[in-house]
Symmetry: C2
Subunit: 340 residues, 2 copies
């Protein structure tokens, strides 16, 4: 490992100025392209900048501009299935603007959360992104006294804040419309616990799209259970105990869908010939390995993160960003499990 004491000293603006035979002000001006100067002078400065591989010290610059060009990203998604794409989107959208992102993984620990927040504020972050793993869950931090703008993604900050969320209902409608279009008529919905807000929203989308297609919900209504494969199995047992089982199952997430498909195979019910199955989340590593590969609704998390990052940047730059929830459309990733 290269040791810091053996490392070459970084060049400063004084080194550049001395070598180019100008003042540090001229170097600064040449670099920013602001003040107009003799083309020859500018070129000479820029040449030296390149020779010395000079990069302005962001801390010194920030001291003056009161902008650190950093933001903090708080998340409680320790597992990362949802937060990671969001995080990527945020960093991706911001790096083009020279903004770097501090990662803070909170994991339900208020003390840890507070120390992360303190560290961020000391580092003078220009803003904060709060990324949740579940919409109706509050992160263990008090953002009330924050002196910088912040924004929520995959977590609802309430009416006074800006929140970016997937359009769950629209995503559900996509899935149902897709099944209807391929001739399915008895479309059941198997999903997670009713206390999860997204479960209700997805069920609502299922119901609304069916109504629009002139179809009745299959069975007594949406089947709320758990977000697990095991629940998928159980739901199939229930559904196939009736006289008229469904010809399509729209599942609230990919794990349930996986359980449904496995259970159907064990019963000798063919997917997609007898029953179409569509999941939610488009968890690719699981969806692609399902037999047959699982069609699923993609929440576009990366794009969600990107837009949240850019909107935060606007707010940092002084724009008035009206508070409220912004929904981004989902897209359907059709695979074999829902073929006509």
């Amino acid at each position: 490992m290269r040791q810091p004491n053996s490392a070459p000293q970084k060049a400063t603006i004084h080194d550049v100025a001395a070598r180019a035979g100008v003042s540090i002000a001229t170097v600064s001006l040449a670099l920013s392209g602001r003040g107009r100067m003799m083309a020859e002078t500018r070129e000479r400065v820029l040449r030296v900048v390149k020779e010395l591989n000079f990069r302005p010290n962001a801390m010194a610059r920030g001291l003056h501009s009161k902008r650190s060009f950093t933001v903090g990203l708080l998340t409680d998604d320790v597992y990362g299935r949802f937060a990671l794409p969001v995080m990527q989107g945020v960093t991706e959208g911001l790096i083009d603007h020279g903004v770097s992102v501090f990662l803070c993984a909170l994991e339900d620990n208020p003390v840890l959360a507070q120390s992360h927040l303190d560290a961020l504020m000391e580092k003078q972050v220009d803003g904060i992104v709060v990324a949740g793993r579940r919409v109706d869950r509050i992160l263990p931090v008090d953002l009330g006294g924050l002196t910088v703008p912040f924004i929520h993604v995959m977590s609802d900050g309430g009416p006074d804040r800006v929140s970016y969320l997937p359009d769950e209902e629209q995503g559900a409608r996509l899935a149902v419309a897709h099944m209807v279009a391929s001739g399915r008529r008895r479309i059941a919905h198997v999903t997670g616990p009713a206390r999860f807000r997204v479960a209700g929203e997805r069920a609502q989308g299922w119901r609304a799209e069916l109504a629009e297609a002139g179809l009745a919900p299959h069975g007594p209504g949406a089947m709320f259970g758990r977000w697990s494969e095991a629940w998928g199995h159980e739901a199939v047992a229930e559904l196939w105990a009736s006289d008229e089982p469904p010809d399509a199952v729209f599942c609230g997430n990919d794990q349930i869908a996986r359980g449904v498909i496995d259970a159907l195979r064990e019963r000798g019910v063919r997917v997609p010939a007898d029953v179409a199955v569509v999941g939610f989340d488009n968890w690719e590593i699981v969806a692609e390995e399902t037999r047959p590969p699982l069609s699923s609704v993609d929440m576009n998390l990366r794009e969600l993160g990107r837009q949240a990052g850019l909107t935060l940047l606007e707010a940092i730059n002084g724009a008035q960003v009206p508070p409220g929830v912004r929904r981004l459309p989902c897209v359907l990733r059709a695979r074999a499990s829902s073929a006509p």
Copy 2:
């Protein structure tokens, strides 16, 4: 969204000094606890610090100390199954020392990678962690000219650098020893492509532990294939085509194990009664939903990240850290799939 222009100005050391009726030097000294001063003065200063919620500006502090108390975390693991726990460990280990971590997701794009690296250097990071998703893969960045210490995790930086890796061979031996202890004698190994270094290391552990137990490898040797469920199915077909199928299968990862277990169920072979199955990675969300739940080797990625972060910190603080690979032991997470 709270707008920056409406935000209360942050208190500076001058505000504190004025209000406490002392000089800024005294405030600084009181805060650092360095210079000795009248207890009463110190208390007065600290009281005002609290009243004004004063936090020293890290950029100003860093300008002087030439330490930013930040590090960069480069990773090419876009999916995040492996990198996320590592990232968490790194941040967790460092936040206690006041060090914040910049996240840079690289995803095979050298241009993006370079711009992330440039941003990090401008921000004056004190060091860099390089976290891979696969040991024998080089990240698309040239770290050669770096002027700060760096360290590798889940990626091998070669003989001149410090790298933290799981002890793959030891992990494999754990799995095999566990199966031997529960009476299994014909232990097969189904794993990923031979060109992956970890596949070779895990196979080596399997072979070594069997030898130590006085057992021969089951079949013609380790079965190299793909890191997928589908390969697990195919391998079962091969294995059960022989006269004497195994009574245990050690799998190179959890996806293969999942495929193996599913395939065995379809054949009516009982797990664990007839065959024990153990996976690798301890990918909990999958392992726990497998029927029966899957025993698996855990690489301790979080701890790996934590230690890497702390070692980087030592190097930053000037310690001489001898280069080379450091292996951390894996642990076995036994579940029902390998019960005696």
